[in-house]
Protein backbone atom coordinates (compact mmCIF):
# COMPACT_ATOMS: atom_id res chain seq x y z
CA UNK A 1 0.00 0.00 0.00
CA UNK A 2 1.44 3.38 -1.04
CA UNK A 3 1.33 6.55 0.96
CA UNK A 4 -1.65 7.85 -0.99
CA UNK A 5 -3.47 4.55 -0.51
CA UNK A 6 -2.76 4.65 3.20
CA UNK A 7 -4.00 8.22 3.36
CA UNK A 8 -7.13 7.33 1.39
CA UNK A 9 -7.68 4.30 3.62
CA UNK A 10 -7.42 6.46 6.72
CA UNK A 11 -9.90 8.91 5.23
CA UNK A 12 -12.34 6.10 4.46
CA UNK A 13 -12.06 4.72 7.99
CA UNK A 14 -12.59 8.21 9.35
CA UNK A 15 -15.61 8.78 7.07
CA UNK A 16 -17.10 5.44 8.09
CA UNK A 17 -16.65 6.32 11.73
CA UNK A 18 -18.56 9.54 11.14
CA UNK A 19 -21.38 8.24 8.97
CA UNK A 20 -21.82 4.82 10.60
CA UNK A 21 -22.74 1.77 8.55
CA UNK A 22 -22.30 2.58 4.88
CA UNK A 23 -25.51 2.23 2.89
CA UNK A 24 -27.86 3.20 5.71
CA UNK A 25 -30.13 6.20 5.20
CA UNK A 26 -28.17 8.07 7.84
CA UNK A 27 -24.86 7.44 6.08
CA UNK A 28 -26.29 8.42 2.70
CA UNK A 29 -27.84 11.61 4.10
CA UNK A 30 -24.52 12.59 5.68
CA UNK A 31 -22.67 11.90 2.43
CA UNK A 32 -25.24 13.89 0.45
CA UNK A 33 -24.90 16.76 2.90
CA UNK A 34 -21.16 16.78 2.37
CA UNK A 35 -21.63 17.11 -1.41
CA UNK A 36 -21.79 13.50 -2.61
CA UNK A 37 -24.50 13.56 -5.30
CA UNK A 38 -24.23 9.82 -5.86
CA UNK A 39 -25.28 9.22 -2.26
CA UNK A 40 -28.39 11.29 -2.87
CA UNK A 41 -28.95 9.32 -6.08
CA UNK A 42 -28.87 6.17 -3.96
CA UNK A 43 -31.58 7.61 -1.71
CA UNK A 44 -33.65 8.45 -4.79
CA UNK A 45 -33.31 4.91 -6.11
CA UNK A 46 -34.22 3.51 -2.70
CA UNK A 47 -37.41 5.55 -2.27
CA UNK A 48 -38.55 6.41 -5.81
CA UNK A 49 -41.17 3.65 -5.97
CA UNK A 50 -42.64 4.47 -2.62
CA UNK A 51 -42.76 8.19 -3.42
CA UNK A 52 -44.23 7.60 -6.86
CA UNK A 53 -47.01 5.32 -5.61
CA UNK A 54 -47.80 7.65 -2.71
CA UNK A 55 -48.22 10.49 -5.23
CA UNK A 56 -50.19 8.26 -7.62
CA UNK A 57 -52.60 7.37 -4.85
CA UNK A 58 -53.20 11.03 -4.18
CA UNK A 59 -53.35 12.54 -7.66
CA UNK A 60 -54.50 9.47 -9.60
CA UNK A 61 -52.49 10.09 -12.73
CA UNK A 62 -49.17 8.60 -13.86
CA UNK A 63 -47.65 11.73 -15.41
CA UNK A 64 -48.55 13.95 -12.49
CA UNK A 65 -47.38 11.37 -9.94
CA UNK A 66 -44.04 11.06 -11.73
CA UNK A 67 -43.69 14.82 -12.00
CA UNK A 68 -44.60 15.49 -8.36
CA UNK A 69 -42.47 12.71 -6.90
CA UNK A 70 -39.41 13.83 -8.89
CA UNK A 71 -40.03 17.41 -7.84
CA UNK A 72 -40.18 16.27 -4.21
CA UNK A 73 -36.75 14.66 -4.54
CA UNK A 74 -35.38 17.79 -6.23
CA UNK A 75 -36.67 19.95 -3.35
CA UNK A 76 -35.32 17.49 -0.82
CA UNK A 77 -31.91 17.74 -2.48
CA UNK A 78 -31.97 21.55 -2.29
CA UNK A 79 -33.00 21.39 1.37
CA UNK A 80 -30.78 18.43 2.29
CA UNK A 81 -28.63 20.44 4.69
CA UNK A 82 -31.66 21.15 6.87
CA UNK A 83 -32.36 17.43 7.40
CA UNK A 84 -31.30 15.94 10.71
CA UNK A 85 -29.44 12.72 9.76
CA UNK A 86 -30.70 11.09 12.95
CA UNK A 87 -34.26 11.33 11.64
CA UNK A 88 -35.50 8.85 9.01
CA UNK A 89 -35.32 10.12 5.44
CA UNK A 90 -38.64 8.96 4.00
CA UNK A 91 -41.02 10.67 6.47
CA UNK A 92 -39.17 13.91 5.81
CA UNK A 93 -39.42 13.42 2.04
CA UNK A 94 -43.07 12.47 2.40
CA UNK A 95 -43.88 15.78 4.07
CA UNK A 96 -42.46 17.58 1.02
CA UNK A 97 -44.29 15.25 -1.36
CA UNK A 98 -47.69 15.48 0.31
CA UNK A 99 -47.51 19.28 0.41
CA UNK A 100 -46.78 19.28 -3.33
CA UNK A 101 -49.62 16.84 -4.00
CA UNK A 102 -52.14 18.70 -1.84
CA UNK A 103 -51.26 21.99 -3.49
CA UNK A 104 -51.54 20.33 -6.87
CA UNK A 105 -55.01 18.98 -6.03
CA UNK A 106 -56.09 22.36 -4.72
CA UNK A 107 -54.90 24.09 -7.86
CA UNK A 108 -56.45 21.62 -10.24
CA UNK A 109 -59.32 23.74 -11.33
CA UNK A 110 -62.34 21.73 -12.38
CA UNK A 111 -64.03 18.60 -11.18
CA UNK A 112 -64.04 17.34 -14.76
CA UNK A 113 -60.26 17.66 -14.88
CA UNK A 114 -60.03 15.68 -11.65
CA UNK A 115 -62.14 12.84 -12.93
CA UNK A 116 -60.39 12.71 -16.29
CA UNK A 117 -56.99 12.60 -14.63
CA UNK A 118 -58.11 9.97 -12.18
CA UNK A 119 -58.94 7.33 -14.73
CA UNK A 120 -57.01 4.12 -15.13
CA UNK A 121 -54.48 4.38 -12.35
CA UNK A 122 -55.40 0.99 -10.97
CA UNK A 123 -54.04 -2.27 -12.33
CA UNK A 124 -56.46 -4.46 -14.25
CA UNK A 125 -56.55 -7.10 -11.51
CA UNK A 126 -54.60 -8.29 -8.54
CA UNK A 127 -53.39 -11.58 -10.07
CA UNK A 128 -54.59 -14.34 -7.74
CA UNK A 129 -58.23 -13.34 -7.85
CA UNK A 130 -58.31 -13.17 -11.63
CA UNK A 131 -57.15 -16.77 -11.85
CA UNK A 132 -59.67 -18.04 -9.29
CA UNK A 133 -62.79 -16.27 -10.59
CA UNK A 134 -65.31 -17.58 -13.09
CA UNK A 135 -65.63 -15.36 -16.22
CA UNK A 136 -68.92 -13.93 -14.95
CA UNK A 137 -67.48 -13.23 -11.51
CA UNK A 138 -64.41 -11.71 -13.14
CA UNK A 139 -66.53 -9.23 -15.12
CA UNK A 140 -68.59 -8.42 -12.05
CA UNK A 141 -65.49 -7.81 -9.97
CA UNK A 142 -64.01 -5.58 -12.68
CA UNK A 143 -67.16 -3.44 -12.65
CA UNK A 144 -67.02 -3.11 -8.90
CA UNK A 145 -63.36 -2.11 -9.07
CA UNK A 146 -64.15 0.56 -11.64
CA UNK A 147 -66.84 1.95 -9.39
CA UNK A 148 -64.52 1.94 -6.40
CA UNK A 149 -61.72 3.54 -8.43
CA UNK A 150 -64.01 6.39 -9.47
CA UNK A 151 -65.19 6.81 -5.88
CA UNK A 152 -61.64 6.95 -4.55
CA UNK A 153 -60.87 9.75 -7.00
CA UNK A 154 -63.61 11.90 -5.49
CA UNK A 155 -62.63 11.37 -1.83
CA UNK A 156 -61.29 14.34 0.13
CA UNK A 157 -57.49 14.31 -0.06
CA UNK A 158 -56.95 13.55 3.65
CA UNK A 159 -59.19 10.51 3.50
CA UNK A 160 -57.77 9.31 0.22
CA UNK A 161 -54.26 9.60 1.60
CA UNK A 162 -54.99 7.32 4.56
CA UNK A 163 -56.97 4.85 2.46
CA UNK A 164 -54.18 4.54 -0.11
CA UNK A 165 -51.55 4.06 2.58
CA UNK A 166 -53.59 1.30 4.20
CA UNK A 167 -55.02 -0.47 1.17
CA UNK A 168 -52.32 -0.12 -1.46
CA UNK A 169 -49.12 0.51 0.47
CA UNK A 170 -50.09 -1.96 3.18
CA UNK A 171 -48.96 0.27 6.04
CA UNK A 172 -50.13 -0.45 9.57
CA UNK A 173 -52.06 2.13 11.56
CA UNK A 174 -49.05 3.03 13.69
CA UNK A 175 -46.92 3.64 10.58
CA UNK A 176 -49.59 5.83 8.99
CA UNK A 177 -50.03 7.81 12.20
CA UNK A 178 -46.27 8.36 12.49
CA UNK A 179 -45.90 9.37 8.87
CA UNK A 180 -48.74 11.88 9.03
CA UNK A 181 -48.14 13.02 12.60
CA UNK A 182 -51.72 12.28 13.67
CA UNK A 183 -53.24 10.01 16.37
CA UNK A 184 -54.19 6.43 15.46
CA UNK A 185 -57.81 7.30 16.25
CA UNK A 186 -57.74 9.93 13.51
CA UNK A 187 -56.29 7.39 11.08
CA UNK A 188 -59.22 5.07 11.83
CA UNK A 189 -61.79 7.85 11.58
CA UNK A 190 -60.49 8.95 8.17
CA UNK A 191 -60.38 5.37 7.01
CA UNK A 192 -63.96 4.83 8.17
CA UNK A 193 -65.16 7.96 6.35
CA UNK A 194 -63.37 6.87 3.17
CA UNK A 195 -64.77 3.35 3.30
CA UNK A 196 -68.28 4.62 3.98
CA UNK A 197 -68.04 6.72 0.83
CA UNK A 198 -66.86 3.67 -1.12
CA UNK A 199 -69.69 1.61 0.35
CA UNK A 200 -72.15 4.27 -0.81
CA UNK A 201 -70.64 4.04 -4.30
CA UNK A 202 -71.13 0.27 -4.28
CA UNK A 203 -74.70 0.60 -3.00
CA UNK A 204 -75.46 2.88 -5.93
CA UNK A 205 -74.76 0.05 -8.36
CA UNK A 206 -77.48 -0.67 -10.96
Amino acid sequence: MGRDDAHRGAEEVSATAVVGDPGTDRALVLQAQSGDNRAFGELVTRYMRRAYFAALGLVGNHDDALDLSQEAFARAFRARRSLDPERPFYPWLYQILRRLCFNFLRDRKTRAAKLAAASAWMAADAGDHAAQDSPQRHVERAELRERIEAAIATLPAHEKEVLVMREFEGLRYREIADLLGIPIGTVMSRLYAARKALAAALEGEP
Binding site: G41, V44, T45, M48, R49, Y52, F53, L56, G57, H62, L66, Q70, E71, F73, A74, F77, R78, R98, R99, F102, N103, R106, A120, W121, M122, A123, D125, A126, H129, R141, L144, R145, I148, E149, R166, E167, F168, R172, Y173, R174, P183, I184, G185, M188, S189, L191, Y192, R195, K196, L198, A199, L202, E203
Partner: protein, 154 residues
Protein backbone atom coordinates in the same frame (compact mmCIF):
# COMPACT_ATOMS: atom_id res chain seq x y z
CA UNK B 1 -53.40 -3.31 19.03
CA UNK B 2 -55.60 -1.65 21.66
CA UNK B 3 -58.29 0.66 20.30
CA UNK B 4 -58.35 4.17 21.83
CA UNK B 5 -61.28 4.62 24.22
CA UNK B 6 -63.69 7.01 22.51
CA UNK B 7 -67.44 7.55 22.45
CA UNK B 8 -69.66 4.55 21.66
CA UNK B 9 -70.31 5.24 17.95
CA UNK B 10 -66.76 6.23 17.29
CA UNK B 11 -65.49 3.19 19.15
CA UNK B 12 -67.69 0.86 17.11
CA UNK B 13 -66.30 2.43 13.92
CA UNK B 14 -62.74 2.06 15.11
CA UNK B 15 -63.36 -1.57 16.07
CA UNK B 16 -64.77 -2.28 12.61
CA UNK B 17 -61.79 -0.64 10.90
CA UNK B 18 -59.30 -2.55 13.03
CA UNK B 19 -61.18 -5.80 12.36
CA UNK B 20 -61.10 -5.22 8.59
CA UNK B 21 -57.39 -4.47 8.67
CA UNK B 22 -56.36 -7.29 10.98
CA UNK B 23 -55.35 -4.99 13.83
CA UNK B 24 -57.89 -6.15 16.40
CA UNK B 25 -56.96 -7.84 19.69
CA UNK B 26 -58.93 -10.86 20.94
CA UNK B 27 -60.65 -8.77 23.62
CA UNK B 28 -61.67 -6.11 21.09
CA UNK B 29 -62.94 -8.83 18.75
CA UNK B 30 -65.24 -10.08 21.48
CA UNK B 31 -66.49 -6.54 22.06
CA UNK B 32 -67.14 -6.02 18.35
CA UNK B 33 -69.06 -9.32 18.09
CA UNK B 34 -71.19 -8.29 21.05
CA UNK B 35 -71.93 -4.89 19.47
CA UNK B 36 -72.84 -6.46 16.12
CA UNK B 37 -75.18 -8.95 17.75
CA UNK B 38 -77.01 -6.24 19.65
CA UNK B 39 -77.34 -3.68 16.85
CA UNK B 40 -78.81 -4.77 13.46
CA UNK B 41 -78.01 -1.37 11.86
CA UNK B 42 -74.38 -1.72 12.88
CA UNK B 43 -74.34 -5.30 11.59
CA UNK B 44 -75.66 -4.08 8.20
CA UNK B 45 -73.00 -1.39 8.08
CA UNK B 46 -70.37 -3.98 8.94
CA UNK B 47 -71.44 -6.12 5.98
CA UNK B 48 -71.21 -3.10 3.66
CA UNK B 49 -67.72 -2.33 4.88
CA UNK B 50 -66.66 -5.95 4.51
CA UNK B 51 -67.85 -5.85 0.92
CA UNK B 52 -65.79 -2.74 0.23
CA UNK B 53 -62.75 -4.40 1.76
CA UNK B 54 -63.35 -7.49 -0.33
CA UNK B 55 -63.20 -5.40 -3.49
CA UNK B 56 -60.27 -3.16 -2.52
CA UNK B 57 -58.29 -6.26 -1.53
CA UNK B 58 -58.27 -7.27 -5.20
CA UNK B 59 -57.07 -3.84 -6.37
CA UNK B 60 -53.55 -2.58 -6.81
CA UNK B 61 -51.95 0.45 -8.41
CA UNK B 62 -50.75 0.22 -11.97
CA UNK B 63 -47.02 -0.48 -12.19
CA UNK B 64 -45.24 1.80 -14.69
CA UNK B 65 -42.77 0.37 -17.20
CA UNK B 66 -39.21 -0.46 -16.18
CA UNK B 67 -37.89 2.47 -18.26
CA UNK B 68 -39.58 4.87 -15.88
CA UNK B 69 -37.48 3.57 -12.98
CA UNK B 70 -34.31 3.45 -15.06
CA UNK B 71 -34.67 7.11 -16.03
CA UNK B 72 -36.05 8.30 -12.71
CA UNK B 73 -32.86 9.68 -11.15
CA UNK B 74 -31.96 11.40 -14.41
CA UNK B 75 -35.35 13.11 -14.28
CA UNK B 76 -34.58 14.41 -10.80
CA UNK B 77 -31.08 15.44 -11.90
CA UNK B 78 -32.44 17.36 -14.91
CA UNK B 79 -34.77 19.27 -12.60
CA UNK B 80 -31.87 20.27 -10.40
CA UNK B 81 -29.80 21.29 -13.42
CA UNK B 82 -32.64 23.35 -14.88
CA UNK B 83 -33.30 24.93 -11.50
CA UNK B 84 -29.74 26.27 -11.45
CA UNK B 85 -30.07 27.38 -15.09
CA UNK B 86 -33.27 29.29 -14.32
CA UNK B 87 -31.65 31.05 -11.37
CA UNK B 88 -28.73 32.14 -13.57
CA UNK B 89 -31.05 33.26 -16.37
CA UNK B 90 -33.19 35.20 -13.91
CA UNK B 91 -30.23 36.90 -12.24
CA UNK B 92 -28.74 37.81 -15.64
CA UNK B 93 -32.06 39.14 -16.92
CA UNK B 94 -32.61 41.25 -13.80
CA UNK B 95 -29.10 42.75 -14.01
CA UNK B 96 -29.35 43.52 -17.75
CA UNK B 97 -32.90 44.90 -17.59
CA UNK B 98 -32.01 47.05 -14.59
CA UNK B 99 -28.97 48.43 -16.41
CA UNK B 100 -30.94 49.17 -19.59
CA UNK B 101 -33.70 50.80 -17.56
CA UNK B 102 -31.15 52.92 -15.69
CA UNK B 103 -29.44 54.00 -18.91
CA UNK B 104 -32.77 54.81 -20.55
CA UNK B 105 -34.03 56.80 -17.58
CA UNK B 106 -30.73 58.69 -17.35
CA UNK B 107 -30.97 59.74 -21.01
CA UNK B 108 -34.60 60.64 -20.54
CA UNK B 109 -33.72 62.72 -17.47
CA UNK B 110 -30.96 64.62 -19.27
CA UNK B 111 -33.27 65.56 -22.10
CA UNK B 112 -34.02 69.23 -21.34
CA UNK B 113 -36.97 69.29 -23.74
CA UNK B 114 -38.78 66.67 -21.68
CA UNK B 115 -42.10 67.93 -20.20
CA UNK B 116 -42.37 67.94 -16.41
CA UNK B 117 -45.27 65.45 -16.28
CA UNK B 118 -43.09 62.85 -18.06
CA UNK B 119 -40.33 63.36 -15.45
CA UNK B 120 -42.91 62.95 -12.67
CA UNK B 121 -44.21 59.82 -14.38
CA UNK B 122 -40.69 58.37 -14.61
CA UNK B 123 -40.10 59.10 -10.91
CA UNK B 124 -43.42 57.45 -9.99
CA UNK B 125 -42.45 54.38 -12.04
CA UNK B 126 -39.09 54.04 -10.27
CA UNK B 127 -40.64 54.54 -6.84
CA UNK B 128 -43.37 51.98 -7.60
CA UNK B 129 -40.91 49.33 -8.79
CA UNK B 130 -38.71 49.84 -5.71
CA UNK B 131 -41.68 49.59 -3.32
CA UNK B 132 -42.96 46.45 -5.09
CA UNK B 133 -39.53 44.83 -4.95
CA UNK B 134 -39.08 45.61 -1.25
CA UNK B 135 -42.60 44.37 -0.47
CA UNK B 136 -42.11 41.05 -2.31
CA UNK B 137 -38.67 40.45 -0.78
CA UNK B 138 -39.99 41.25 2.70
CA UNK B 139 -42.88 38.81 2.24
CA UNK B 140 -40.60 36.04 1.01
CA UNK B 141 -37.78 36.51 3.47
CA UNK B 142 -39.18 38.00 6.66
CA UNK B 143 -42.88 37.15 6.91
CA UNK B 144 -42.48 33.61 5.60
CA UNK B 145 -40.15 32.78 8.48
CA UNK B 146 -42.60 33.92 11.12
CA UNK B 147 -45.84 32.73 9.52
CA UNK B 148 -47.37 30.23 11.98
CA UNK B 149 -49.55 28.75 9.21
CA UNK B 150 -46.81 28.21 6.64
CA UNK B 151 -46.85 24.42 7.14
CA UNK B 152 -50.62 24.11 7.06
CA UNK B 153 -51.80 22.22 4.02
CA UNK B 154 -55.01 23.74 2.75
Amino acid sequence: MSIPDVQADERARHLMMAALDGELSAADRTELDRLLEGDPALAAEWRQLQRVREVTRTMSMREPSQEIWEGYWMGVYRRLERGIAWILVSVGAIVLLSWWAWEGLEKLWQDQALPTFVRVGALALIAGVVILAVSVVREKVVLRKTDPYKDVIR
